[in-house]
Symmetry: C2
Subunit: 120 residues, 2 copies
Amino acid sequence: MNYNEFKYCGLNVALGALSGKWKPIILYYLFHQEEIRFTELWRAIPKVAKKVLLEQLKQMEQDGLLLREEKNGFPPEVWYRISEKGRALGPALAALESWANEYAAEEVDLLKIRRKVTLS
Amino acid sequence: MNYNEFKYCGLNVALGALSGKWKPIILYYLFHQEEIRFTELWRAIPKVAKKVLLEQLKQMEQDGLLLREEKNGFPPEVWYRISEKGRALGPALAALESWANEYAAEEVDLLKIRRKVTLS
DNA sequence: TAAACAGGTTACTAATAAGTTACCTTCTTA
DNA sequence: TAAGAAGGTAACTTATTAGTAACCTGTTTA
C-alpha cells in the first residue's frame, strides 16, 4: 500500500482518539515514562484543569490507549501506563512529528497553533 | 530516530492542522483527485454546510496543505489541489489509517466515533 | 481533632466549532 | 427580464470542549 491509499474512515477514528487538547502531551509522558502517577502527571502539565486531565485520561482509557491501575491503600494511588494499542500509535505519531518539523518548523518554534494549545 | 522519540510540540502542530470535522475527507478527495472544484467537493460530502466547508478549506490553505486556484470567467470556478506540504502528510495519514484498521477495526466498521463524525 | 493527602465528582461558566438561513455578485440562459 | 449558475459572506443558533471552584472520600500526621 502506498501512502495515497488511505481512506478517511480509519483516519477519522485515529484522529478522534487523538483529539483533545492535552492528549499529545499525555502520550508524550506515557511514551517516555513507563508508568506515571496521576498527581505527577498533573504537576508535569502545569495549566491543565484536573477535571479536564481526568476526562482525557478516561477517554484514552476507553479508547484503549492506556491502562489505569489503582494501587490499594490510602491515600489513593493511580498509575497510568501506555497500552500495546497505544504504543502501536508510535510510528504514526513520529511521522506527524517529523512532518511538522520538516514542513511547519516555524509553527513548531512559535508553539502557537490555531487551537491555542500553548505548552509552556 | 525510533518512534519513541516524538515530542509533543510538532505533534500538536500536525494535529492542529488536521483538526476539523471534515478535513480527513477533504484530504481524501485531494489525494485521490488531482484537482477538484468547490461545488464538486461540496456535492461529494453531502452533509457539510457550505460555510463550514469553506472555513476548513481556508484553514487548510493557510496551513499550506492545499492550493486554491480561481479560474477566470463566470460563473466563478475555484479549484483545489493538494500541495507538496499536504502530500507530505501522506505517510503519516496512512500510518494513522492502518493503526485504526489494525487496532480499532470495530470503530472503523461502526463509523461512529466520539466526535460524532458520521460519514455517508 | 483538625489539616493534609490523592483521586475524583458536581455544578457552573467561557470559549470554540459546527450548522442554518438569507443574501450578494455577475454572467448566461429560458 | 427573471431565474439560475458558483463561490462567498453575515448574522445568528446550537453543540461540544475546556476551565473554575467547591466539595467528597477515608487514612495519616501534626
